[in-house]
Point group: C2
Chain length 327, copies 2
């Protein structure tokens, strides 16, 4: 079985190139380029969404799908501490979808693009002999030359996360049970988190600008997967407190802490902060931003553990959503 992490590492080693203008290549949320004499760096990221792998058409309206497709890419730009600027969209469309469907898809994308200052600049269109396929590429701009990588964390730095975790997984659970529209406020919240995630662009840019984040990644594949990625890049381990993790609670979730640790697609930001900067961060974190949780700290030894509420300690296994891992 091919694992995405393993393949990414393989290609990193084998095919990554060098260039004077390339500040960072494969392996982070986005690549970083410095155009000659430009005031800012540019970050570039791409994500692909496939029908029946990453989404089901029956679960999302065309405009929700447009929103989500762009959101997952904007989230990668946010995790670099950059501001989204431009995007391209390549889409392979099955015969069953109408021109009206396509129009509504682009409209959904357009609305979230506008909200975050990202402008559609190009793309490709094709008829698909199979399912719907969407590949988006987003280009962002850093604030000055401030960019936040996965690799900047050091032992002792605090680990923070925005929002609540497991909310998107809770929405997905509803969809699997045939509930496409929510009946309660909690259900609607979970479904909305899954269908129309809000990338944390403002937070990421602010953290970079103010110099609070020493490392950052967005939570696309679950805390357990993504914290391992951050720690591997930073050369650290981590110790988390289960009771500090902002777990999404809802009556239909069988294991809320498990969903919070392993559920994918929350698109919250996971970042680290040097000890001296934690006080100022907490004082100055804007009121309008999503909630902020200090969930643990980076350690010098390898491995990630979670201190349980009963006083025990468990290793955090690197499991979560991997497109190449199948049951």
């Amino acid at each position: 079985v091919l694992s995405e992490n393993a393949l990414v590492r393989l290609f990193q080693q084998r095919f990554s190139g060098k260039s004077a203008q390339l500040k960072l290549g494969i392996g982070d949320d986005a690549a970083v380029i410095h155009p000659r004499n430009a005031d800012e760096y540019w970050v570039i990221t791409t994500d692909m969404l496939l029908e029946d792998v990453d989404f089901r058409s029956g679960w999302l309206s065309p405009s929700e799908l447009g929103h989500k497709s762009l959101a997952v890419n904007l989230s990668d730009v946010a995790a670099m501490g950059a501001r989204p600027r431009f995007y391209t969209v390549s889409i392979a469309i099955p015969d069953r979808l109408s021109k009206n469907w396509v129009n509504r898809f682009y409209r959904g994308m357009n609305i979230i693009g506008d909200a975050h200052g990202a402008v559609l600049i190009g793309g490709d269109l094709s008829r698909s002999p199979a399912g719907l396929q969407i590949t988006i590429c987003v280009i962002g701009e850093t604030s000055g030359k401030r960019v936040v990588l996965r690799s900047g964390g050091k032992a002792g730095h605090g680990v923070f996360v925005t929002g609540v975790l497991g909310r998107s997984a809770a929405g997905l659970e509803l969809l699997f049970n045939g509930r496409i529209h929510g009946r309660t406020a909690r259900e609607r919240e979970a479904l909305r988190a899954h269908k129309m995630p809000e990338p944390r662009c403002d937070v990421g840019l602010w953290l970079a600008k103010e110099g609070f984040a020493s490392s950052m990644i967005d939570l696309s594949d679950g805390l357990s997967m993504d914290l391992h990625r951050l720690c591997r890049a930073s050369g650290t381990g981590a110790r988390l407190q289960m009771k500090s993790i902002p777990v999404f609670q809802a009556p239909w979730i069988s294991d809320p802490p498990g969903s919070a640790l392993k559920g994918g697609e929350d698109f919250e930001l996971l970042f680290t902060v040097p000890p001296k900067r934690i006080g100022p961060l907490l004082r100055r974190y804007p009121a309008g931003f999503p909630s902020l949780s200090a969930i643990g700290y980076l350690t010098g030894n390898e491995g990630i553990t979670v201190a349980q509420e009963d006083g025990g300690e468990k290793p955090l296994l690197e499991t979560g959503f991997d497109h190449f891992q199948r049951a």
Copy 2:
């Protein structure tokens, strides 16, 4: 039936955005960005290749497919007069393909990337429930701020094309007839043109640098389609001479002039030159470059005609390869 041209126009009108740093959005071979205070412009293009729509796996080795996937994108950068710099690759891989297949695919891409100075900087990977899907995004850099658009042609400008036309279509005809490996030099030439097209990056960059090309496009969908696109963008018509068009000749082609006019995927450059610059172009066109043909001129009235060798004149219909047009 959805037509790609019509859809592109629709999205252009409806969803294209504006930005101070965006010099050119949807509608050309690539978008053009000016990073703040940068010495050069950046061009961005993306193309998608789908199994059984754009290629058949049995006809191409993994490294040929890697080559071709990147080549079609490099060609768009060439058509802007820019130098390719960076690329991202998103690939959805069916279960039947091995890690070794993936490795050879990336290797083929890497070789042509290196040859043109383009460096892999990121991408996405997924398991595909259906066929193989490849989406590449290439970022290029102009020489100074010189960029060549489709829209710069004016009545009276000469129309030029590099190389020979219909060669890739001739290769495709062989493949349709079950000939995957050529038996004669001519067959091998046609197959190679189809499987491993050579983007004209050096020519495009040189034409832009020296200021010869007033407008330019790469021939991806056939002369008949692509000249109409250039003329529409420039607000002109054109008059071609059939006898000046560099037609690829081979015994197995039923209608060589037809293939030259309508055959897609030659990835030659089609460009226009102001009358005063034609002499200097012909004198200074480097000997190592592909052959150059003056095939006609732009006209003030709409429509494109082709003067036949028998003295007659025929309209050039806008027909060719369109992913949305099906028999």
